[in-house]
């Protein structure tokens, strides 16, 4: 599920319930609500008249009579704060309202219509963004005779560029989605589409932007009243109270605290509220500076006995990996086991979401920050990689295990020339002078059959094609003469003609160097051409592993059979390509017992009863299915 789809779902479910369920949301929302009520009901909630002077009790510290003390004229500080909050909060509300009125209609229209209107609006938004708002605010305050209302409305309009931009982006994204095109074809009018499909999706963005803008406006409103441009004294304002406290600050610094702290708390609450809404409406790795977020922890993996001499090259046992998501921990991998020995090529096969790439990344310990290994071992020549330190890993990567990845166009740093990046990798693997390293870079580029290595080395990654980029990536991976190459869908993103070239290159290189290859793919043609062994993955576990001939001739798992049967290579003319019904269940929705049983044509009642273990079929062939006999009889 994409972040956008998730955001859409959250928006439909309603932001408020999700907000209340999150502790941060409940606390900050509760505080703001309380403040709002206390200020709105100031005539009732305030203990005293904010203007009532009591010159016998000036500059008091907090007492039972005056919870926050009194100011230099003996006025009750708490009451002044509550009354002063009214002008601040009303000002902020006016600013936010003005911003919504300008930014949302313009943003939605520009994003939905696109074209010329969009260009003009965005150009204007760019321009307004650079206007020094304070100058306009001062002019307004001068012309409208210190009207904070006029100033805050203006500030709302001037500050609307950010919200406009975000709303426009959302509207554009929604417009491109299939269901909106479908709705258009069904004859829904533009207005209906805007109200039914686009606006609900913008809700999260709008709330986030509004609360951040409210936080900023409080700073501006209190600042303006602080420098005396708000309602004239004795009317209480938060900024004004800070200003008044300056005169007596040496005798009584306490007076600085109440208004300052209240302003800070309000700004903080609004800022955190925005972050929480962003987190519940869309996945994001940044929360309110992570202050209240859970830390990433890597659960310790107990060390195990080292095996005997000359252990297998790569051995995974019962590997389990979890990802931390806003919706809770998701166990992406459970009990993944397989072996790969020198010179072999193992194909890791399965649908999207089965955990192939996560497995590949775990081997190199390059999981994203929110991923954690929770159980199992990854041994490389007997050494447990999961307990290896940072230093050891850095020495191992590239020189013993290397990677080529799915998207060659994004595999290279866009800010550095190809030659510089390769040179850096080459020099990691051996002490070479700059000149020798450059020579080695040219050799490597020639090895991967790139014409004119000199020229390629001078280019930036965005100046070469995908096929060339994958060759450069292979050159980078070869630089350290690795014993194992992990290839994560190396051809998926390439044109069909280029795919064959890259595979041929990989085959040639493997033959010449003798390295083992772990190739992640969902292309059975690649498996047939290239692999000696296959491990089929489904919903986070290996369901079948066998030598490649066995898999094609005598597969012992219904999922493998279905995968092979639905492969485009096996389609014949004029018959539609078959597909497996349903999709891979996400971590939270896996059925008990056999995870494939919901989609399996051969499922029986006993498939649901217990976890299915890997069962030995023949030497080197294991399957996670309890009905293999029936399957073989089936043919």
């Amino acid at each position: 599920m994409t972040a956008v789809a998730r955001a859409g779902r959250a928006a439909r479910r309603g932001v408020l319930p999700a907000l209340v369920r999150s502790p941060r949301g409940a606390v900050t929302g509760g505080f703001l609500l309380l403040l709002l009520l206390a200020c709105a009901l100031a005539p009732v909630s305030a203990p005293a008249d904010p203007l009532h002077q009591d010159l016998h009790h000036v500059l008091q510290l907090p007492t039972t009579g005056h919870w926050l003390g009194t100011d230099s004229l003996g006025r009750d500080v708490l009451s002044r704060l509550l009354y002063g909050g009214r002008s601040t909060l009303v000002g902020v509300a006016e600013g936010v309202a003005a911003q919504l009125l300008v930014a949302v209609p313009l943003g939605v229209t520009a994003g939905y219509l696109g074209g010329r209107f969009d260009r003009i609006v965005m150009r204007a938004a760019d321009l307004v963004m650079s206007v020094p708002a304070i100058v306009i605010l001062l002019a307004i305050l001068s012309i409208f005779d210190r009207s904070i209302t006029a100033a805050m409305i203006t500030f709302g309009v001037l500050g609307g560029s950010g919200m406009l931009r975000m709303v426009r982006g959302t509207a554009m994204a929604v417009r491109r989605e299939l269901y909106v095109s479908a709705a258009e074809l069904l004859g829904l009018s533009r207005t209906q589409i805007v109200f039914r499909h686009i606006l609900p999706r913008c809700r999260g963005t709008v709330i986030v932007q509004s609360s951040l803008f409210a936080a900023v406006s409080i700073g501006v409103q209190t600042g303006l009243t602080f420098i005396g441009l708000g309602p004239p004294p004795p009317a209480p304002t938060w900024g004004g109270m800070i200003n008044e406290s300056v005169l007596t600050v040496t005798e009584d610094p306490w007076l600085l605290a109440p208004a300052g702290v209240l302003i800070a708390l309000t700004v903080l609450a609004l800022g955190i509220l925005g972050d929480v809404v962003r987190d519940v409406t869309a996945q994001s790795h940044t929360s309110s500076g992570g202050l209240l977020a859970k830390p990433v922890s890597r659960r310790a993996v107990p060390p195990r006995m080292l095996p005997g001499p000359d252990p297998v090259l790569l051995s995974l046992r019962d590997l389990a990996v979890s990802f931390r998501t806003p919706a809770g921990d998701a166990e992406m991998l459970t009990r993944v086991s397989f072996d790969l020995d020198s010179g072999q090529t193992l194909g890791l096969v399965g649908e999207s979401g089965s955990g192939k790439s996560v497995t590949a990344r775990t081997i190199l310990r390059i999981l994203d920050r929110n991923g954690t290994v929770t159980a199992g071992t990854v041994r490389f020549r007997g050494r447990d990689l999961l307990s290896a330190g940072q230093r050891e890993l850095e020495e191992l990567r590239g020189s013993r295990i290397a990677l080529i990845s799915q998207e060659p166009m994004t595999a290279l740093d866009p800010s550095f020339r190809i030659g510089a990046q390769l040179r850096e990798i080459v020099r990691r693997h051996g002490k070479l002078s700059r000149r020798d390293a450059d020579r080695r870079v040219r050799e490597l580029l020639a090895t991967v059959e790139l014409p004119d290595p000199e020229e390629i080395a001078r280019r930036f990654p965005f100046q070469i094609s995908g096929g060339m980029a994958q060759r450069v990536a292979i050159a980078a991976a070869l630089a350290g003469s690795p014993e194992l190459l992990v290839a994560d869908e190396p051809t998926t993103a390439l044109d069909v003609t280029v795919q064959a070239d890259i595979l041929a290159l990989l085959r040639r290189l493997q033959r010449e160097t003798g390295m083992a290859v772990l190739i992640v793919t969902h292309d059975w043609g690649v498996v047939a051409d290239f692999c000696t062994h296959v491990a089929v993955m489904y919903a986070g576990e290996v369901v079948e592993s066998a030598p490649v001939a066995e898999i094609f001739d005598r597969s012992a798992h219904p999922y493998t059979r279905a995968l092979i049967a639905t492969s485009p290579e096996n389609a014949t003319r004029r018959t539609p390509i078959r597909a497996i019904g349903g999709s891979v269940p996400p971590p939270g929705a896996r059925p008990s017992g056999c995870r494939f049983r919901d989609r399996c044509p051969m499922a029986e009642e006993d498939c649901a009863e217990r976890e299915i273990p890997m069962i030995g079929i023949r030497a080197g062939h294991r399957s996670r299915c309890i009905h293999t006999k029936a399957l073989e009889a089936h043919g």
Partner: protein, 313 residues
Amino acid sequence: MLRLIANRIAMSIPLLLLVSLIVFALEALVPGDAAQTILGQNATPASVAALSKQLGLTEPWFERYGHWLAGAVHGDLGTSIINGVDVTSSLATRTGVTLSLLVPGLLLSAVVGIALGFAAAVRGGLLGRFIDLVTLLGFALPGFWIALIMVIVFAVRLGWLPATGYQPLTEDPLGWLRSIVLPVIALSLNGITAVAKQTRDAVLDVLEADYVRFLRANGVSSRSLHYRHVLRNAAIPVVTSLGLIAVGMLTGAVFIENVFVLPGLGSLATQATLDHDVPLILGVGVVLTLAVILVNFLIDIAYGFLNPKVRVS
């Protein structure tokens, strides 16, 4: 690169026009006129009319705008309606003070903000959480309030630095430095926070980029990844955001100048606002807008330098 710069220059003229036009148009929209506001509600209609005529307010606003514009092109921004002083010359003496806050403030925000945001993203752990806490406080506490606290602590209690006042750089470099230390720090806190947050987000994004994973998997050390590849790529969005942060800093500068009683554009504009002296406010607006244009210009150059796509093509 050249296109980028040409584009920026093309944008700067409408920006200047926009700021001045807004002010003139607003003034025309308001019921009554400046003369009435200056003289107060109790003034006789005759005296208001006389002052109006004297100030040239009887002309339609767009004609006045035309006159103002014609003068502005030649560096003449009109005269103050309060004391008749030439606006351009009042600005000249005050611009240096405000620049003494803005330039070091922006540099400090960029350097400290990037360092903090980078450390928070890369290190995590206790240091990361401490930085998160500091940036959260910097976001929440109003700059002028922090300025007052700093005055109490460092100027009044400890007596290390002056509480108020300004020494020109050319006359007394050390005095200048002492007079701007506290204001610049107070002004920068919000900027540091904003830059740190931007940097943190950008670094976390880049850390999960395909190329970082690829380079890491093929042996590039964490050290090189962080300080060469991640920092370089994360700098692009951060540098872009500096333009907006600079605009926000102008607002902060007006408040901070009032706290420290610095004779800069901010305190001039504040007084002008209280006096309804629109030509003076407008003059400040022109100077500050020019400052924004200059900052954006420098940012474009930095952006072009950081982003090879712009540099090469």
